[in-house]
Symmetry: C2
Subunit: 115 residues, 2 copies
């Protein structure tokens, strides 16, 4: 049975091979998921042509970039990445968990429909 | 100067009069903000006809409802509230901070444009 409630603690995970991603919920309008980085792992700077996005750093520390701003961020930082603005995670400095949300969703996400 | 980075710690606040809200970022597609509750405060169960929404409980404890599900939730719980599904916070049990995101945004939000 699908639920409207999900726990990040049970869904966050780390991989030594690459940054770990988990998809939590998705609809035609909105996606929410997790990005988890081991120290040294990164997310290439990229841009979405149609979607606005934000990250919320939940724990850890990472160097993040949006447009011409670069900051070392930790838990409690919200990072806004509007459509067409390059953004990414050049380097995680600690094991780092981020919530990420995007509207409209990326096209390659397919989850069971929310209940 | 507007920044792509904002700290929740500096924006979260509590009011004795009513639940506190802060708007972090908004675009035509996506809104992200904070809802902060003192114990005993609530958010009336309501529905959005066009927008999907989620909450992420960051700290505290609250009783939340979506559709026919009610749960007592704490930090790290993501709560999905699709368009047309009634949802709300019948009662905060501790001082509780939630991130909330909605796509498309509520109509009454007007923030300075993101940079």
């Amino acid at each position: 049975m699908t639920s409207y409630f999900k726990s990040i603690d049970t869904l966050a995970s780390f991989s030594d091979d690459r940054a770990f991603k988990a998809d939590l919920f998705v609809s035609g309008k909105l996606f929410v998921g997790l990005n988890c980085f081991q120290p040294g792992q990164s997310q290439k700077v990229h841009a979405h042509s149609e979607s606005d996005k934000f990250y919320l750093v939940l724990s850890g520390k990472a160097r993040m970039v949006v447009g011409d701003e670069t900051q070392e961020v930790g838990g409690g930082t919200v990072v806004w990445a509007p459509a067409d603005v390059p953004h990414g995670v050049p380097e995680a400095l600690e094991p780092t968990v981020m919530l990420v949300a995007m509207a409209p969703p990326p096209r390659n996400i397919s989850l069971p429909a929310a209940p």
